[in-house]
Subunit: 304 residues, 2 copies
């Protein structure tokens, strides 16, 4: 199975109680692909501008298993840039600025060599763009989409049209509530299944995640991290998605049990991302560390 | 091992989006003892007034394994009464009234037949009363206390004195934050360990629980219940504590693994309490239902 992700590669400026960084590698696609690459080969489809720093390219090129052929550099354009600040023990954040740059232009083209990709992750963008991307992916067999409050609020018909065409939806708990008017994550998930997907993953940040699948329900806590190890939550959700989809791609199947197991791999992979700014921790991560932390996670989450 | 609980037996009036009930059985001790009784024999120590309804007594007497010898009826007094209303999908509640009644008088006396009790749960009351109760329990080997925001705010020195004398503390996440000024539950737990206990259980309601123990950390999600099955959250925390301590009593030991397993039994037992008002669901619960739900919980919470 071939895993492909499409979304943003951007330049982030981030302030957290642990410090600040300026113009560092970021974007949903970058975090996803870096995280997924520890589990399966991953193909990245995104666009950046002529201002995209060479050191950002070198960082992404450093991930074995991460194919960059689908990264379009548009010399006349500027790269998506985002600035944010975390407050209150990292549980809340405010956006300081968003410069769309090339994101306001046409979406990127899927290279011919990627057209056989069968496991697709549509990271968060306008649902119409997400849907349009599917037209470029004729071999798709499993499609999972992410979304956000902005699209739920402003483009609900387009989002609902997309949901009819995907196998899975990933969103956070406040978004699930917004989409369904239900505060209970299980009930919200069940309501979303009626819109088309076979499964919904509700991400709850420090409180873990819930899977509502046509064939069952699963729940996990977050990896129990101490405050001093949480440096920057940026990209945690995208890294979770990367570990999750990477596991499904490596398993070569997508039944309930595989998807349930993927939750744990997503959780463990994301737990590294937040230990440093940007992709710094993922850049020096090893598969062995992931496996060791998985054992620690299994030991911490034993039922009975 | 002999399990004893001391706390309140009261008369509750509760309004939830699912309905309302007036003057029904309630109180931390009642919920705890009913829940614990499915796991081990439990002794209840509490005081009620002359107004305590006979039907409330009959309900508690209906639980096999629940010893009522420690229930003091004070004919001239009135029973503790509480009224509350749940808002917002049951996640928030407001107190409508509190009538202390006999709770404002001397604490109850531990009967001579109970003085060999070795596993003690001090349900939430004034920390000085909790500490005084220990003087009546010379055979105590494992003491776990519950507390609440009121005591953290108003009687911190007394609470800290109590913490130096207990083995475990149970509190919810907002209380853990209040006690330690740390929003991260693991870090808050570690800080509380420095005050004396060997372990802390942080209850997070619909988000599950976290155990911070000198010998390790554990985390569990809540039992994944749909909104339509949540009728009344009152007593969920006390039922969790009852299932938790009941399992420890039945295991006859209190090492890290036993305490970790006890979290799951607490979770599963409490998941029944919220399915009906008052003790109604517990009153018709069977051990077989608990065991079946434990299997469902194990299936929903599998790591990798």
């Amino acid at each position: 199975m071939s895993l492909l992700v499409t979304g943003t590669v951007g330049i982030d400026t981030v302030h957290t109680p642990a410090g600040s960084v300026e113009r560092v590698p970021g974007g949903s696609c970058a975090y996803f692909a870096a995280a997924a690459s520890f589990h399966a080969p991953v193909r990245l489809v995104a666009a950046v501008g002529g201002d995209w720093p060479g050191e950002h390219r070198r960082l992404l090129e450093g991930f074995a298993n991460l194919s960059m052929e689908g990264l379009e550099v548009r010399p006349a354009g500027t790269t998506f840039a985002w600035g944010g600040r975390y407050l209150d023990d990292m549980n809340r954040r405010e956006t300081l600025f968003t410069e769309l740059g090339v994101l306001a232009e046409d979406p990127p083209t899927v290279p011919a060599a990627y057209r056989d990709s069968d496991i697709i992750f549509l990271a968060n963008t306008h649902p119409t763009e997400q849907a349009a991307m599917l037209g470029q992916l004729p071999a798709r067999r499993l499609v999972v989409a992410d979304t956000m409050d902005l699209w739920i609020r402003t483009t609900r018909p387009e989002l609902e049209a997309l949901l009819a065409r995907v196998d899975g939806l990933m969103l956070n708990d406040s978004e699930a509530r917004q989409l369904t008017d239900m505060g209970n994550a299980i009930s919200a998930g069940r309501k979303i299944l009626q819109l088309g997907p076979s499964f919904v993953v509700v991400k709850k940040g420090e409180h873990g995640c819930i899977l509502v699948h046509r064939d069952g329900v699963a729940a996990l806590p977050a990896y129990p991290a101490e405050a001093e190890h949480v440096v920057d939550p940026t990209g945690a959700g995208d890294s979770f998605a990367g570990g999750f989809m990477g596991h499904i791609a490596s398993a070569g199947q997508a039944d309930f049990r595989t998807i349930q197991a993927a939750l744990a791999w997503g959780t463990v992979t994301a737990s590294f991302t937040i230990e440093a700014f940007s992709l710094d921790r993922l850049a020096r991560l090893t598969r062995r560390e992931i496996d060791e932390r998985m054992k620690a996670f299994q030991a911490a989450v034993r039922v009975g």
